[in-house]
């Protein structure tokens, strides 16, 4: 179909971020990033809105020239003009909205790629809110969506404003006092009702947020379903759910009341405004100042103009405000500086002293955990720049067991050997499709111990010259752990290996064991 998204992302203008970039400037850059799409879309949006504004004008003229005259030729002429106008407004919307959407999507994609690259490639640093996956996800999705929606400000509100200007000039042409009254009165009226309604809407927003929090807590209670059943707290949990649900309900009802009152206020204001226009036009018509067709056009136009005015004001304002808020958050992320490296250096040095250099073929056991373990690992990475420090957290990526281990640089034989060494051979039979079984989101189809073994296999398969393992078998049962310990030694023959752990089974296969308590290393001998 015409104007669908192409297979490859559409290129946009680059969106630069530097120290001088303000949220406002970033938002403007985003708005201007895809002019090849947004400019034609804006032109078509204007055409669409003018077409809409023409409907009451054409109808007024048709009633005056055709219906009241009884001239069939006139009727056909005006029906034809009406049809032409509808064709114009319909097709201009069809293509305009599609172009606008496509441009917005292209910008959104570009922005998301920028944010993802930053999140994945930046240096690791502690104490950043965006280290939490949930926070980072919300930046890369919600905030990117809201900022890129700023592209729409250059499309739809532009058309709506054009409609207001067009309608205003038609009114001016029909009757300049009425035209001026409408052109000044309508925006003034909207401004006043917006102001009056602002407190109502703010309140509604607050209440909605409170309701969302309560709803989230309620869902969280269900997430602990097994725990609740396990401790027999069903009745208590049920009553807690009822409490949160009721407080969510109370907030929601307040929000609905505020929204209803706001809607009513807007109706009163625009209705009374229209009545005023109608009375003025009617008075002018019965004294012969206005023709019947003009009267209809004035009333119809005044009725029509309320909508685009409202939307232009509310959409543009709302889009801009939310884009600016997201722009501020994204800028803070994109401009963040790397972590301060000096603070950990001292503890690293003292931690590293006892371990010394790891000899070729040696397996060193380091009995440490917590901050000491982290310091040891950091020190080892410093001493052996080619070291692979496998993270303790056994995070598996979406895909199969095999895909998680046979990473791009790993050949099949090595992956197989590593899987076997890490005790994953039994997965061939345990899992429905063996090693080709998907591990699920977060490795959720595997047990904690299975996950840890696959992660260990992934580390072994890298065949790194220096490998640092951090408590690799905490979730593995004692039987399997003993087997893994023996195979680990063989798998790492001729390479340098450090295992940070308190597990007796793993420490038992080490050539030497270093015990670290509060960064005071104490070396023990090889057996």
């Amino acid at each position: 179909m015409l104007l669908q998204a192409p297979a490859e992302p559409i290129r946009t203008r680059p969106i630069h971020v530097d120290d001088a970039t303000t949220p406002r400037r970033l938002t403007l850059r985003v708005m201007a990033a895809a002019p090849r799409y947004s400019v034609p879309a804006a032109v078509l949006s204007i055409t669409h809105q003018v077409g809409e504004a023409l409907v009451p004008v054409l109808m007024g003229l048709a009633i005056e020239r055709a219906v009241s005259s009884g001239d069939l030729g006139q009727l056909l002429l005006w029906l034809g003009l009406l049809a032409a106008d509808f064709a114009l407004l319909s097709f201009s919307w069809r293509f305009g909205s599609r172009l606008g959407e496509l441009g917005m999507l292209a910008v959104q994609h570009r922005l998301r790629t920028l944010v993802t690259e930053h999140l994945l490639l930046r240096a690791s640093g502690a104490r950043r809110a965006s280290n939490q996956p949930g926070v980072a996800l919300s930046l890369a999705t919600s905030d990117v969506n809201r900022l890129s929606a700023a592209v729409e400000i250059g499309v739809y509100p532009v058309g709506q404003l054009a409609a207001v200007l067009f309608g205003g000039s038609v009114l001016l042409a029909i009757s300049w006092p009425l035209g001026i009254a409408v052109l000044i009165g309508a925006p003034l009226l909207l401004w006043l009702t917006e102001r009056a309604g602002r407190t109502l809407r703010t309140r509604s927003g607050d209440e909605q947020a409170a309701a969302a929090v309560a709803a989230g807590q309620a869902a969280d209670l269900m997430a602990g379903y097994r725990v609740i059943r396990g401790i027999g707290a069903e009745a208590e949990a049920s009553s807690r759910y009822r409490q949160t649900s009721q407080s969510a309900l109370a907030s929601t009802l307040l929000a609905r009341r505020a929204e209803g009152a706001f809607g009513g206020t807007m109706d009163v204001a625009s209705g009374l405004f229209l009545t005023g226009v109608a009375v003025a036009a009617g008075l002018s018509a019965i004294t012969g100042g206005l023709g019947v067709g003009e009267l209809i056009a004035v009333v119809g136009l005044a009725q029509f103009l309320i909508d685009p005015l409202q939307y232009a004001a509310r959409n543009a304002g709302g889009l801009w405000a939310s884009a600016m808020a997201s722009s501020t958050r994204l800028l803070a992320l994109l401009r963040e500086v790397g972590p301060d490296a000096t603070s950990v250096t001292r503890s690293r040095r003292s931690a590293a002293r006892g371990i010394g250099l790891v000899a070729e073929g040696e397996v060193v056991g380091v009995a440490a955990d917590g901050a000491e373990a982290e310091a040891v690992i950091a020190a080892l990475e410093e001493a052996h720049p080619d070291a692979l420090a496998a993270p303790h957290e056994a995070h598996l990526f979406t895909g199969t067991v095999w895909q998680n281990v046979a990473l791009p640089t790993v050949d099949a034989a090595r992956a197989r050997a590593a899987l076997t060494a890490a005790g994953c051979d039994e997965l061939i039979e345990l899992l429905p499709q063996g090693w080709d079984s998907p591990v699920g989101e977060n490795g959720s189809t595997l047990s904690g111990g299975q996950r840890q073994r696959v992660a260990l296999a992934r580390a072994l398969a890298q065949d790194a010259p220096v490998l640092v393992l951090n408590d690799p078998t905490t979730a593995v049962d004692a039987v399997t752990e003993a087997a893994i310990a023996d195979r680990l030694r063989q798998a790492r023959a001729g390479r340098r290996t450090v295992v940070v752990t308190h597990s007796p089974a793993l420490l038992a296969i080490a050539d030497r064991v270093v015990r670290i308590d509060r960064t005071e290393p104490r070396t023990e001998a090889a057996s």
Binding site: L79, R229, E236, R242, L253, E259, G440, D477, A478
Partner: protein
């Protein structure tokens, strides 16, 4: 809610999933009526208010028609007082209509929100009374998504759907009546246009749901890929996968764009058809007006009024048709919410060992399987006496957790019987810290627990430091939105809950496995403290736990392979002895 899907884990593993029922429209309606019981008259009053509001809305177009006729007849009736009078009618009808409309929309939202709140509360209540095995077969993820996503879908639909339905339905109905009052032929034009709308909606509903579902799925895919890389950021860095993952994310991100454009195309076709309906309506009114005025049975004021009435309908009709898919997905979600309510909660069959003292457990000839022909447990005989601690050891996948779940009553055995006497608590590896204060997390186990009891429980599991670490002490919010706890602290929390619940029987299924290896000793001591004076079945993860138990049960392939005291088994020449030797292998001596 993608965060919650991780908890689908263990029970979904390789099993046939048997989801909870989904209610059909009739059942949803029945349950909604039940929730609205006693509010019938409110419903009737609401309909009256909305009809009156819509009726007030057609006064202005009719009055404008009269102004046009007045102007047409010109000087004869050119009386400004007449225009002012009509203006007065219009103004008062607008005030009345706005007031009634606001009252109607607020009232309708209120009724619907009350119904939704009642339905979701009944759903959760039922969920906690369902046999747990039923929920495990469905996967707790199913339940979580119904309590989370589905409730959210309905709640989000209400603000747009209710005013659209409340306003548009009555406005359209009253407008047809209003047109018929001017002349029945005008009403006929409107009725002729209805099939065009119907066709537009039908075409839309035929294609839109799949495309929207596809779009949502693509968005979920995008979120999942992002989360995947963000959660495993350490691994992404360690294995140099960043560029690879950025490419992956870019692909799924652009896939969303494809779906969005498809959805836009379907919307555009829908709008184009609505434009056709509008054109036909406008043209029809002109033709009818032309005929009526020509043969003298109508006035141009009437044509004007009919035209203005129709012009006023554009908005409400679009609004009504546009909420159709919100309405659809809200109804689908309601079906899933009500489905839980209709799932029959069965009471748990009694398993008393009538003569035995509390804390006794007896398994007789128990065989259990999740998938037919694939026994997870076979022919288990096991008895636990009050106050006894029994440790279960064995490689993964040999049925340890199934044994624990059967003793806890999570599942009913396929063959044999499980008898137990006394209250019990099951703690698994799956700890959940609730999104609430530290205190509320603990009092869940005992609602009337005093702060002294709570602090005492924390102290006994070795978590006194936790309270002083948290700035707010017991009032500190923890859980997903609060201060994060370490895995060891989370497990201490779970153990403290046991102390507060104070059961006669405790089942610990690898409840202390997730901490780092040094936390292990501390957690093991806490577990021992929790078990004091109770019957304990502990699925032991480390053999040190087995060594301190009264009795050790070694499982192999769903059967009990060895059983006895640690000292006896370790001294004998069996599988346990070999295991113990490997475990307790002395680390190399000091140089």
């Amino acid at each position: 809610m993608s965060e919650t899907s991780a908890s689908e884990s263990a029970s979904d593993r390789g099993r046939n999933v048997d989801r909870l029922p989904v209610a059909n429209a009739r059942t949803v309606w029945r349950e909604a009526r039940r929730s609205l019981a006693g509010r019938r008259w409110q419903l009737a009053a609401l309909a009256a208010v909305l009809t009156a509001a819509a009726a007030a809305g057609i006064v202005s177009p009719l009055a404008l028609g009269a102004v046009v006729d007045g102007a047409k007849s010109g000087v004869t009736s050119g009386d400004p007082a007449f225009v002012w009078m009509l203006g007065g009618w219009m103004a008062s009808s607008i005030l009345l209509g706005a007031l009634l409309g606001a009252v109607g929309v607020i009232g309708a939202s209120r009724l619907i929100e009350l119904t939704l709140a009642d339905l979701r509360e009944r759903m959760v209540d039922t969920a906690f009374r369902l046999p747990q095995a039923r929920v495990e077969r469905a996967g707790t993820g199913d339940l979580i998504s119904r309590a989370g996503d589905d409730v959210a879908v309905v709640a989000e639909a209400i603000p747009s759907v209710v005013p659209a339905l409340a306003g548009s339905f009555f406005t359209i109905a009253v407008t047809i009546v209003g047109m018929a009052v001017i002349d029945p032929w005008y009403a006929l034009v409107l009725l002729v246009v209805v099939p065009v709308h119907a066709l537009a909606v039908r075409g839309y509903l035929r294609h839109a749901p799949q495309v929207y579902a596809g779009e949502r799925a693509a968005m979920a895919d995008r979120a999942q890929h992002l989360l995947d890389s963000l959660r495993g950021l350490e691994s992404v860095r360690a294995y140099g996968l960043a560029v690879d993952h950025i490419g992956r994310i870019a692909r799924v991100s652009w896939a969303v764009a494809g779906w969005t454009m498809r959805a836009r195309a379907i919307q555009n076709v829908f709008f184009a058809r609505l434009n056709v309906a509008e054109l036909l309506g406008m043209g029809g009114l002109l033709v009818v007006g032309f005929v009526l005025v020509s043969n003298g049975s109508g006035s141009i004021g009437g044509t004007t009024a009919a035209m203005l009435l129709f012009l006023r309908l554009f908005g409400p009709i679009n609004e009504l048709l546009f909420v159709v898919d919100d309405l659809q997905s809200a109804l689908a979600s309601l079906g899933r919410i009500v489905g839980v309510i209709t799932a029959e909660p069965r009471s748990r069959p009694a398993h008393g060992v009538s003569t035995a003292p509390p804390g006794t457990v007896r398994l007789t000839g128990v065989t259990h399987s999740y998938v037919e022909g694939h026994d997870a447990l076979r022919d288990i005989q096991l008895e636990l006496s009050p106050g006894e601690t029994v440790a279960v050891v064995g490689a993964s996948g040999t049925g340890k957790s199934t044994l624990a779940a059967l003793v806890a009553g999570v599942h009913e055995p396929v063959v044999g019987s499980v008898q137990r006497k006394g209250s019990l608590v099951l703690v698994t590896q799956e700890v959940h810290v609730f999104d609430a204060t530290l205190r509320a997390n603990l009092t869940l186990a005992r609602a009337d627990a005093s702060d002294t009891m709570v602090l005492d429980a924390l102290g006994r599991v070795g978590a006194s430091r936790l309270v002083s670490r948290l700035a707010g002490g017991l009032d500190e919010p923890v859980g997903s939105a609060g201060t994060p706890l370490t895995p060891a602290e989370e497990q201490q929390l779970a153990l403290a809950r046991v102390l507060l619940a104070d059961p006669e029987l405790v089942i610990l299924d690898e409840a202390t496995a997730e901490g780092g290896s040094r936390d292990a000793d501390r957690l093991d001591r806490a577990a021992a403290e929790v078990g004091r004076g109770r019957t304990v079945l502990i699925v032991a993860h480390r053999l040190s736990q087995a060594a301190t138990a009264d009795r050790v049960v070694l499982m192999h392939n769903g059967r009990i392979q060895e059983q006895g005291t640690h000292a006896d088994l370790a001294a004998a020449d069996g599988a346990y002895a070999r295991l113990w030797k490997a475990w307790s292998r002395d680390p190399p001596a000091v140089q």
